[in-house]
């Protein structure tokens, strides 16, 4: 029985950690894209805008009803063909193989997170009573100002725990980027483990790295939640 190779484990930990920036980059980009789009979609769904509402519903149902790994494979199979067609039509000298896989990752995770966040925002906006908007209108605020100053701050309090969940899930899901051969935390550690077959050590390292990142994110959200709640108490 071989014991754990602690020396390798120590080295691989930093190899895994060096993949963290890519993971965080994908997370941040996906969130930056999907928060405004998701908010817009949730308004579409709440208002029941004729055609858009049905399209949103199908889109959300598909994203939530199929495994993420299949969505990744789908994008990875469809996108190069579309991109190549686009490049050919613009007579670009760029080859399809020059496209960094991180662009596909941005696309997949944004599309995925939009669907998740639409539902989060929708349920959060539902908790704010309609009279709040009417009251804001009656004192002369525009709809935009009413949303910005009255509705969103209140909805954010209920949305925050779900938002935290969505963010940690997103971070965890970036581990599937190995399918795009993107060198993030999981793939880096796995590749480092290949020569010596030290997979157990590598996976313990990966586990630790994700544990640290996710715990930090959760801690940050908890702090922010406390601040928002305190703010709400004073304003109420």
């Amino acid at each position: 029985m071989q014991t754990l190779d602690l020396h390798f484990m120590w080295e691989a930990f930093f190899i895994a950690l060096s993949g963290a920036p890519i993971t965080l980059l994908i997370t941040v980009v996906a969130l930056l894209i999907s928060i405004p789009v998701g908010f817009f979609f949730s308004l579409v769904r709440l208002n029941g805008t004729p055609v858009l509402d049905q399209l949103c519903r199908i889109y959300i149902s598909f994203v939530r009803g199929t495994p993420l790994i299949i969505q990744i494979f789908l994008i990875y199979n469809v996108m190069p063909i579309l991109v190549e067609r686009f490049l050919r039509s613009t007579h670009s000298t760029m080859s399809i193989f020059d496209v960094n896989p991180i662009w596909y990752a941005f696309l997949v995770f944004s599309l995925h997170t939009i669907a998740i966040l639409t539902e989060v925002f929708r349920s959060a906006l539902k908790t704010v009573q309609k009279s709040q908007l009417e009251a804001a209108h009656s004192v002369g605020l525009s709809t935009f100002a009413a949303y910005r100053r009255i509705i969103i701050p209140q909805a954010l309090v209920t949305a925050l725990p779900n938002l935290c969940n969505a963010t940690t899930n997103l971070i965890k899901n970036t581990s599937l980027c190995y399918a795009l051969s993107l060198r993030e935390i999981t793939l880096r550690a796995k590749v480092a483990a290949n020569p010596g077959y030290n997979y157990i050590e590598a996976y313990i390292d990966i586990f630790l790295v994700y544990l640290i990142i996710c715990s930090l994110v959760e801690y940050g959200f908890k702090k922010y939640e406390k601040r928002l709640k305190a703010y709400q108490c004073i304003s109420a």
Binding site: F62, R64, L74, N77, R85, T186, Y203, Y210, S215
Partner: protein, 234 residues
């Protein structure tokens, strides 16, 4: 050029559907063992022992931060190594064993949180009232608390079953041949020629199962919500 063959897509579906039995076997076994684990963990979390409570919460934190694919590989590589210390040989075991173990751990964790929160959602007065009319503690739990708590828990349970179904597709990474694994084999057999059609067929299979489960959930909720007035919804 993008050549999309719709008939090829239709042909793939009957090739994939027979492999759903492995997918569902994993799902059902995981539900069974995960629920047992969930009850144990929830009991620890609500119990009096400080050590067990800390242990259960630490487990929850760790599980929440672990991607399922990492957990799957940790179990797949770690468990045989761990067993070999005690001179057990797990290397010949079926891959289903590792898949079920890994997903039971994460599903059990989710279940423990659902059970805990739905147990707390039932008012304490209900239990006290039940005991005061002469029910034993076990009867009070079985006849009064459990029926009410399960109504609260149901939507969350269905939701996590859906998540489990989707995450179960990752089992192909350790070589389990379920629907996902079979689709991968089909793609590899055709030298990636019709990957898109096969993947779409696969996603339609998953999508329809999800829609069925979701609709069943809606119907069940309607039926069970008769008892809603008794439940304090926080």
């Amino acid at each position: 050029m993008l050549k999309f063959d719709f008939f090829y897509l239709l042909e793939q579906i009957p090739k994939l559907v027979p492999y759903l039995d492995v997918t569902f076997l994993v799902l059902i076994l995981t539900l069974f063992f995960g629920t047992i684990l969930g009850f144990v963990l929830a009991g620890w979390k609500l119990g009096k022992s400080l050590i067990l409570r800390k242990l259960a919460y630490t487990f929850t934190t760790a599980m929440r931060c672990t991607p399922s694919i990492v957990l799957l590989f940790l179990v797949y590589y770690g468990l045989p190594a761990l067993a070999s210390i005690f001179a057990f040989d797990l290397n010949d075991l079926s891959k289903i064993f590792f898949v079920v173990t890994a997903f039971s751990l994460s599903f059990g964790n989710v279940m423990s949180e659902i059970i805990r929160s739905s147990y707390l959602a039932v008012e304490r007065g209900q239990y006290e009232a039940a005991v005061s009319v002469g029910l034993t503690r076990f009867d009070a739990f079985r006849r009064i608390i459990l029926p009410q708590a399960s109504v609260v828990a149901l939507p969350n349970i269905i939701n996590s079953i859906l998540t489990l179904l989707k995450e179960g597709s990752l089992a192909y990474t350790i070589g389990l041949i379920d629907v996902m694994g079979k689709a991968n084999l089909l793609i590899a057999m055709n030298y990636e020629a019709h990957a898109l059609e096969t993947l779409l067929a696969l996603s339609f299979i998953y999508w329809s199962i999800s829609i069925i489960i979701e609709n069943a959930n809606g119907l069940l909720e309607q039926k069970l919500s008769k008892g809603r007035t008794f439940i304090k919804t926080v």
